[in-house]
């Protein structure tokens, strides 16, 4: 149960930090340091990267 709670808290944190919050400019660039992001966060991250590529934003 504790492990599940920790995982949920981490997933909620990753969702908020990577997918919410104010944006100060038009571009948000997120690169992946490794593969240690939890699945939920990684999907958000990949979605962010793919949507940026679709708009032609490259770093």
């Amino acid at each position: 149960m504790r492990g599940e709670d920790d995982q949920l808290s981490l997933a909620e944190l990753v969702n908020r930090v990577l997918d919410r919050g104010a944006v100060i400019s038009g571009d948000v660039v997120i690169s992946v340091a490794g593969i240690d992001l939890v699945y939920v966060g990684l999907r958000v991250l990949l979605s962010s990267v793919e949507s940026m590529r679709a708009r032609g934003v490259e770093r």
Binding site: D5, L8, S9, L10, E12, L13, V14, R16, V17, L18, D19, R20, G21, A22, V23, I24, S25, V28, V29, I30, S31, V32, A33, G34, D36, L37, V38, V40, G41, R43, V44, L45, S47, S48, R59
Partner: protein
Amino acid sequence: MGLHPYCITPAGHAPGDATGLGGMPVVAVTAAGLAAWASEHAEPVPASVDAVRAHDAVIRSAMTPHVTPVPLRFGQWAASPAVLRERLVEHAARWSALLQEFAGAVEMGLRFDPLGPAATPAPGARARAASGRAYMEQLAARVHDRDAVERERTRLLERVEAALGDVALRSVSGASAEDARALWVAHLVRLGRAAEYRRLANRTGQEEAGYRMAVTGPWPPYSFAS
């Protein structure tokens, strides 16, 4: 070199000796009565669990009983302090209004995950829709399922708002990316009412037997800053 920004606060709200990503010192760049907390790096810092935690930790260090910062999304970059100052001037009206709204408040979160697996079509069912009639029947079934999911999510959300509407200043909600039947809700709550919120939310969760409900928070108000 450039700056990784974390949050916006009123000008004069100093980071002190706070450190951010990679242990770099956090500084305040000020303009238009606002301050952007940021740390200097050679290049944008990649996302990782540690970086996400460090980003959130800086924002939390800016929170006091009277100041709740406007959290910034991870992954932003300013080439220089001058660029950050330009952004502060550009967004001053909006961020000043948010700071006023956020003062003394925190974000609390709810997540409802349905118990049991979702109904799935029989293997090969879609492939067997060789006839137009069969195709239309399958399409109608999918629309019906989607409508049923939407109605249930609406019912659940109304239940949550009835239980917590008096405690919350504002709310936003959405479906989970992993399961359309799962619901997440974020509420902006006065810091002094966070415990009451948690108690009322737990009672609501106990009354919804078909779901596993989790209460999270307090958070900086990420969901209300976008």
